[in-house]
């Protein structure tokens, strides 16, 4: 059993009671809500006549259904309009703070939490969205929950949970040129498998994480759930504190000092014990791209696609299904695979550093005429920052579409979707069948650099071969 890790410390200090079921009742420090997974939960509150127990610890925004082109109400999609109206009514009725479109602070929940300083080290953070693991980058325990559980948090600010084991993932050394945090997370999932994290929280550490930016850490923690781990975190350090200082909801003055003391104390101790440790040499990581139908189906971009025989048992059937659905063959190179759509966005890669990287590589180039490229900032603040830096002009000049903030083409809940059997290269997090809105649509996941190099080439291309730019 793990001992004295950040996970253990936060879990223990947030335990309210041992329930008869044997589960722990855990206090939730921050509850983020959005339009999709809350209407039934508020319905439940009305049914039992309960209010929101800690409205000050709950904050809402809108991200999944929001169109990124025209946001004029009522939305063309009647269901989206209804869903939006339901959220507006619920936050009003229950007194929950809501970052609406006119706030200038709306965005994908997992982008705005850290951006506003809402997500802080040593907190428990829950949201009805599996990518809540993102907030682990702040040194918190963030995890996704279902709608009934959203109701539990609204009514009691707690959840009934089973304690997880802790696996330390140590990435040593340094990353090579053109290799990014997205490649690190894809490599972890490649090595440990999409079921490898079941029952675990991942603690990421080692030289590569020590020197990684906060936004890079968010990208990695974001995809913990794709490896089966409900929680992924990085211990808070000076990089964390530097990022937090001066943000809207960060403490100030003396309170800041008290915050620092708690945050330093909550990190895993030198004597921490883990249930398991896995090590990867940073130098061995290549730009990664997925070829199949789950995020574990990935390959180093210069490597031949894996033989089906390299998969055991049922995984072999899934791999065969993946090759068949994606219309690719083992042994071939993924490079040169023609793409129709390039998507730079989502809670994985839509922050300012992602957009800067995309713009840097796109500058002076054109998106291939056969490719439709969408660039979708993760929040209104990211959008504003990017425009102040003139990034949007670079995207527009290159022939990409510069959009409003939202989840966009990560999932088929808004107008941004693949059509028919279109093939996309995408910075999002899931290459599941149908994920990008078309049942026959095909998705390849990669870093912002891979997405941009591929958008320019019209086919999957290695960003390291873009000459001096990469």
């Amino acid at each position: 059993m793990s001992k004295n890790t950040l996970y253990d410390k936060v879990w223990d200090s947030h335990t309210v009671a041992k329930l008869d079921s044997g589960q722990d009742q855990i206090f939730i420090g921050l509850h983020l809500i959005h339009e999709v997974t809350t209407p039934q939960a508020f319905g439940m509150l009305k049914e039992i006549g309960s209010g929101v127990a800690f409205p000050g610890r709950t904050i809402g925004t809108v991200d999944h259904i929001i169109p990124t082109l025209s946001q004029i109400r009522p939305y063309e999609d009647e269901q989206a309009e209804k869903m939006m109206a339901a959220l507006e009514q619920n936050v009003n009725e229950f007194g929950v703070r809501f970052l609406h479109l006119d706030s200038g602070k709306q965005g994908i929940v997992h982008v705005i939490g850290p951006e506003l300083g809402l997500s802080q080290p040593g907190m428990t953070i829950a949201c009805g969205d599996s990518h809540t693991s993102t907030h682990g980058a702040m040194g918190s325990l963030g995890f996704g929950i279902g709608t009934t559980e959203v109701g539990h948090v609204l009514a009691t600010q707690t959840l009934a949970l089973n304690r997880l084991k802790v696996k330390r993932i140590e990435v040593t050394g340094a990353l090579g040129p053109g290799v990014t945090p997205k490649d690190v997370t894809l490599r972890v999932i490649h090595d440990l498998g999409i079921k490898g994290g079941l029952g675990f929280a991942y603690e990421y550490g080692g030289d590569v994480f020590d020197t990684m930016s906060m936004e890079g850490r968010m990208t990695v923690c974001n995809m913990s759930i794709e490896g089966g781990a409900r929680i992924g975190y990085v211990n808070p350090d000076e990089t964390t504190f530097e990022y937090l200082e001066g943000r809207e909801f960060s403490p100030e003055g003396e309170a800041w000092e008290r915050g620092l003391a708690y945050w330093r104390d909550i990190a895993s101790g030198d004597d921490a014990e883990y249930d398991d440790v896995y090590e990867i040499a940073g130098e061995s990581i290549e730009p990664m791209v997925t070829w199949g139908i789950n995020p574990g189906h990935s390959v180093g971009i210069s490597q031949p696609l894996p033989e089906v025989g390299s998969f055991a048992g049922e995984d072999r059937k899934t791999a065969e299904h993946g090759y068949d659905f994606m219309d690719l063959r083992p042994g071939e190179s993924i490079l040169g695979t023609k793409v129709d759509v390039a998507f730079l966005g989502s809670c994985t890669n839509s922050r300012i550093s992602d957009l800067r990287e995309g713009a840097r590589l796109l500058k002076g180039n054109k998106v291939h005429p056969g490719v439709r490229m969408l660039v979708v900032p993760g929040s209104q603040q990211v959008k504003q920052q990017a425009e102040e830096e003139g990034l949007h002009e670079i995207f527009n000049e290159a022939g990409a579409e510069w959009r409003e903030a939202g989840c966009s083409m990560c999932l088929g809940m808004n107008p941004d979707k693949l059509v028919g059997a279109e093939r996309s290269i995408s910075t999002s997090n899931r290459n599941f069948i149908g994920r990008q809105g078309s049942p026959r649509g095909r998705t390849h996941l990669g870093s912002p650099a891979v997405v941009v190099s591929s958008a320019i080439a019209g086919c999957i291309a290695d960003p390291r071969e873009m000459g001096e730019q990469a």
């Binding site: 200090s13 947030h14 335990t15 309210v16 329930l19 008869d20 079921s21 044997g22 589960q23 009742q25 206090f27 420090g29 999709v36 997974t37 319905g43 309960s50 127990a53 800690f54 999944h64 259904i65 999609d77 209804k82 300083g117 040593g122 009805g128 995890f143 929950i145 279902g146 709608t147 009934t148 559980e149 109701g151 539990h152 009691t156 600010q157 009934a160 089973n162 079941l198 759930i225 089966g228 781990a229 409900r230 809207e248 909801f249 403490p251 309170a255 915050g259 708690y262 789950n294 049922e314 995984d315 899934t318 999932l411 088929g412 809940m413 899931r430 599941f432 069948i433 149908g434 809105g437």
Partner: protein, 202 residues
């Protein structure tokens, strides 16, 4: 919010061989735009069913089944409760598989759908039995943690905490959680970020 004891489920089974069936496949995202769960069962595997003429869910031989046998890592991906809701509303009262994704398992527990875990060999046997003799009546016994048909009895793992709650009829955790509200307040007051350095904005 009625809650009931769940001790035994008897009936036919839908076999769903294949690993890593994610919640996007169980309920595609476009069906998440409703503000109620009503009718969500219509979304169950709908894209897959459209493209698979002999999909197990549509196979008339499995009509009326109230359990499902599945592979490894069932319910991976998105946290959408729509997936277990669709299964439950379609009539699936229990699932037996090799493994289940974490959030999916939590959602199933929250809405009173037990999950049983068995070895890959045992699950394959169950899947084969349901495929070859779809009229077979299986019994999932929550107390003894078994699934049986004819003379055959297979042990399954049911997470102990959840097993207890199903048997006691206390799986709807809300009442339990609400009962501890005074302690919740105490824990809140003990957390530095609630009392010691809360920013004004919060």
């Amino acid at each position: 919010m009625s809650t009931k004891r769940i001790e035994k489920i008897v009936g036919k089974a839908i076999p769903m061989p294949r690993d890593d069936i994610d919640t996007d496949r169980i309920t595609p995202a476009r069906f998440l735009k409703s503000i109620t769960f009503e009718g969500i069962e219509k979304a169950l595997f709908c894209d897959e069913r459209e493209n698979t003429p002999d999909h197990p869910v549509d196979n008339p031989a499995h009509k009326g089944a109230n359990m499902m046998f599945v592979g490894k890592n069932f319910g991976s991906g998105s946290s959408r409760e729509h997936a277990p809701q669709a299964l439950k509303r379609f009539g699936v009262e229990v699932l037996v598989g090799v493994s289940f994704a974490e959030i999916f398992a939590g959602n199933c527990f929250a809405i009173g759908v037990p999950l049983g875990v068995a070895s890959a060999d045992d699950v394959n046997e169950l899947i084969k039995q349901a495929q070859e003799e779809p009229e077979t009546r299986f019994t999932v016994d929550i107390r003894n943690a078994t699934v049986s048909y004819g003379e055959r009895v297979i042990s399954i793992d049911i997470q102990e905490t959840r097993q207890k709650a199903f048997l006691a009829g206390t799986w709807d955790m809300l009442a339990n959680l609400r009962g501890n509200l005074p302690q919740v307040e105490e824990v809140a007051q003990s957390l530095p970020y609630v009392t010691n350095f809360e920013s004004e904005a919060q």
